[in-house]
């Protein structure tokens, strides 16, 4: 059965909101999107086993909170000031997963200006796998797994919200 158009629009709107909050380093609002069993993950390879290999980021809910406290401390020099950013989210594919969850994937391209040091314009891109859950009628993010095209290459600071 095809998914109702309104449901597709609602999920897309959630992705665009999440992207904008990340772009604008709106730490509190971005953090509020997560469920308690959250996983914010940037692996070095799509099929990487986190029990055996190291990832760039593998944050559970507690570590996400620590990351936000660090960013808000005023002393996170690698994000002081926060990088100006804009990203495009596209090629969205949505699959229902059980009664109140969705597996969503999308491509993204992100321009990030490293104003803290080099003022290089860094260009990031890849595919994002989201797991979303409806909690009390509202969409929330359970998993955001970012598959960078260059995840296994030397990369610049990833201290902003990817």
């Amino acid at each position: 059965m095809a998914m109702p158009e309104s449901e597709i629009r609602e999920i897309e709107a959630f992705l665009f909101l999440e992207a904008r909050l990340a772009d604008e380093s709106s730490y509190d609002e971005w953090e509020a999107l997560w469920t308690e069993d959250a996983l914010y993950w940037v692996p070095r390879r799509p099929d990487l086993d986190p029990a055996r290999e190291v990832s760039h980021i593998y944050d559970n809910r507690q570590r996400i909170a620590t990351r936000m406290r660090q960013l808000k401390s005023g002393f996170r020099y690698s994000q002081t000031p926060a990088s100006p950013m804009r990203r495009v989210v596209s090629n969205i594919e949505i699959a229902p997963a059980g009664a109140d969850e969705y597996e969503v994937s999308a491509n993204f391209m992100l321009m990030e200006l490293a104003v803290q040091s080099t003022r290089n314009m860094n260009f990031w891109g890849g595919r994002v796998l989201y797991r979303l859950r409806r909690v009390d009628g509202q969409l929330r993010m359970v998993v955001k797994k970012i598959l960078l095209v260059d995840a296994d290459e030397p990369i610049a600071n990833l201290a902003f919200l990817i």
Partner: protein
């Protein structure tokens, strides 16, 4: 044609300061690649990265591409990544397992140990074509110590023993954190690009002075360190050390012995959460020595010029240019210690790499240093901190100083000057 002037390094490295041009001048970088990375010894990789016959992994020594392989005779080789025909970089894949390297240009084929297997239409090569002389070139000198692979691209020069010197003990201390006496670097490498000179990395990595300032955000976000940490004036009796040969250490053992609790270097995890590790350590090393290892933890030290024993991580650098360097990091997994390794993975992600809570701030500082050094005045970087209070430790015989002192930087530059002063 102009005459190329050689740089007089004696005038640029002084006991208490170094000249800014050493970080920015491309001619200096070129001399460094030749005199430090190509004529001297450096770290290349670890035997656990190529555990099985046929395993290979690309690496770089200075600016030169090499392949670490496990040959059919089970020996580890380091081969130049260059076809002996026309120079094609024969191995493009980062790592894997293979029986042969086949050049995609004309089909010259080599075994994983480097020996030549054959060339298409061999008749055209002439009667005297000797396949046994046309294998991939081995690096002139290779030494493996407790799994750490070091290479030197010059056939002559200082021996490996004289290069490593007393710092052999630092590698021992790292390996002896494992109840099997062996480490395992199989968790993959995080690679981090710094727009900064490579020397800022070994300098920063054993610099205790920056931690409370550059990493203030982590201190505020978590109780990562005690209130006295990195401040000798507040009672941190950790020690900075010159191991000779440019090898340096920031040794926290004395601070950890103040409370005598094990695993302060590991987020203070209670020993009760790793019972098998504790039992196996006691079995291997005896109760007292095991306790000492678990209190003091693995070393925080630089093996000149490019290896960083970063406590429960291994890190190394690959220079790119005067203004760019890549730093690699992986968890130092301990054989026979699955309880430790599960936590080590998550600890590495927290501390090391471009997405972590520590290293992005170090990268930012290194890049800002590089930008600042474009200013011509003052000409010098100040390295005097601790000069008036460093001492020879009677127990180790090593020049030592307080936790925030720049003895580690001075020790790096002493070796640097020695190597760079040699005629090309």
């Amino acid at each position: 044609m102009g005459v190329q002037q050689s740089i007089a390094y004696e005038g640029l490295v002084r006991p208490d300061r170094v000249h800014g041009s050493l970080y920015t001048n491309p001619a200096v970088f070129s001399d460094e690649m030749d005199r430090i990375f190509h004529k001297g010894w450096s770290f290349v990789g670890h035997t656990s990265e190529v555990p099985d016959i046929g395993d290979f992994r690309r690496r770089q020594i200075g600016l030169q591409p090499v392949i670490i392989t496990r040959a059919p005779d089970n020996e580890v080789r380091v081969l130049f990544n260059r076809c002996t025909h026309r120079g094609n970089m024969i191995c493009a894949k980062e790592s894997g397992n293979t029986a042969t390297f086949v050049c995609p240009y004309h089909g010259w084929t080599f075994g994983v140990g480097g020996e030549m297997r054959g060339v298409p239409q061999q008749g055209g090569m002439g009667k005297d074509f000797d396949k046994s002389a046309m294998g991939l070139a081995n690096v002139p000198r290779l030494q493996i110590y407790r799994g750490f692979i070091f290479a030197c691209l010059a056939a002559e020069g200082p021996s490996f023993d004289s290069y490593l010197g007393k710092a052999r003990k630092l590698l021992d201390r790292a390996c002896d954190m494992s109840p099997d006496g062996e480490i395992d670097l199989s968790a993959g490498w995080l690679k981090h690009r710094f727009h900064a000179n490579w020397k800022m990395l070994p300098e920063n990595n054993t610099d205790g002075y920056h931690v409370n300032v550059a990493h203030a955000s982590l201190m505020r976000a978590v109780n990562a360190f005690s209130a006295q940490a990195f401040d000798e004036e507040k009672g941190d009796n950790s020690v900075t050390r010159d191991w000779g040969g440019g090898h340096t250490e920031l040794d926290f053992a004395a601070r950890y012995h103040q409370s005598g609790r094990p695993f302060q270097w590991f987020g203070g995890v209670p020993a009760a959460k790793m019972p098998d590790y504790v039992a196996r350590m006691e079995q291997t090393y005896g109760k007292d020595m095991a306790q000492k290892h678990m209190i003091e933890g693995p070393p925080h030290a630089i093996i000149f010029p490019n290896l960083f024993l970063a406590e429960l991580n291994i890190s190394f650098l690959i220079p790119v240019s005067a203004n760019e360097v890549i730093q690699y990091y992986t968890p130092m997994l301990l054989k026979g210690a699955p309880e430790v390794n599960a936590r080590a993975l998550r600890q590495t992600e927290g501390a090391m790499g471009p997405g972590s809570f520590l290293l992005p701030d170090d990268a930012c500082m290194a890049e800002r240093n590089q930008l600042g050094l474009a200013a011509q005045s003052p000409e010098w970087l100040d390295l005097r901190r601790g000069l008036e209070r460093e001492y020879t430790d009677p127990e180790t015989g090593l020049l030592s100083s307080a936790v925030s002192d720049e003895i580690t930087n001075r020790s790096f530059w002493k070796e640097y000057l020695q190597l760079m002063s040699q005629a090309a």
